[in-house]
């Protein structure tokens, strides 16, 4: 599996570290909303198809990236930096199940 890092270009997956589900919304640190915390900590979409993920190019430029990966085929349909300042152009998969924008 190759992931195209926005800075380094296509690299082998062994250079990358999975940093978790990219759909999570962290509640405010002082939030008392237990449902929101429960969603953040435990609830996952677990889709069979496109999935928003956070990866880090830990064996290269160390940038954190948003990746849309198909969990059935490992096809990677979008990669962009997490940090908005370095975002070249937002790529959103439209209307795909399990890939909440």
């Amino acid at each position: 599996m190759l992931i195209t890092c926005p800075y380094c270009g296509a690299r082998d997956v062994s250079e990358f570290t999975y940093q978790g589900d990219g759909n999570r919304q962290r509640p405010a640190p002082n939030s008392q909303d237990l449902d929101a915390w429960n969603d953040y900590v435990y609830d996952r979409l677990n889709p069979a198809g496109d999935h928003n993920e956070i990866w880090q190019h830990s064996g290269g430029c160390r940038t954190h990236i948003r990746v849309v990966r198909n969990t059935l085929t490992h096809e990677i349909s979008a990669v962009q930096p997490v940090r908005p300042e370095t975002k070249p152009s937002p790529v959103k998969p439209a209307g795909r199940r399990g890939a909440r924008p």
Partner: protein, 200 residues
């Protein structure tokens, strides 16, 4: 910085650094390995939005004009600079004291300057088979069109991080953590044995 204690720099390769020809060199050596010991190895990290200002500060201090874009770098006679990550650059020069000059040119609001002179070891591989030997270590394209002169690449060999700059048509400088340098050097010697290598 003024109160820094002067610690002598020692090469981590010393116990295994054996000058001369090694491996299968009956028909000549096809790569040369050496440790280059620049006086200063400095990393500059620009805060988001300050990348251009930091590159301009590096240019003002060293005269090195890095091209824009990922991994862009430049090689002058005894000083090198290249990008290793978004907003991050490695600058090496022959003389000591580069870090003080860069700290003056790059205020804390623009970015951070880190002196890596003792923390990194730079290994040079040069020769017609340099690309061949490096291709055994790293899953990146070393061909000249894909990896142009002066450009830098951040990658890793297993868990040894390497920042590689092409400093010549068949010459690469590999910047590794000092503590991993001896192990990496030994691996590089093993990988070079089949083509015959000379340690300079």
């Amino acid at each position: 910085m003024a109160s820094r204690i002067g610690v002598e720099r020692l090469s981590p390769l010393e116990p295994v650094y054996r000058s001369g020809s090694h491996g299968r060199f009956e028909d000549g050596v096809e790569v040369a390995l050496s440790e280059i010991r620049p006086g200063s190895i400095v990393q500059v990290t620009a805060w988001p939005g300050e990348e251009q200002s930091a590159a301009a500060a590096i240019r003002a201090v060293t005269g090195l004009n890095m091209p824009d874009g990922p991994g862009g770098g430049v090689v002058a006679s005894d000083q090198h600079a290249f990008g290793i990550a978004p907003g991050k650059f490695i600058v090496t020069v022959e003389s000591e004291g580069l870090v003080a000059a860069l700290v003056n040119a790059i205020p804390p609001a623009m970015g951070a300057v880190t002196d890596l002179s003792h923390g990194r070891t730079i290994i040079r591989i040069e020769g017609p088979k340099a690309e061949w030997v490096l291709a055994k270590f790293f899953a990146i394209d070393f061909a000249l069109p894909a990896f142009p002169l002066g450009a830098g690449r951040s990658t890793s060999h297993h868990d040894i991080f390497a920042q590689i700059q092409r400093t010549g048509a068949d010459r690469f400088d590999i910047c590794v953590f000092r503590s991993f340098a001896r192990s990496f050097w030994k691996a590089l010697c093993h990988a070079s044995a089949e083509v015959g290598y000379e340690v300079q």
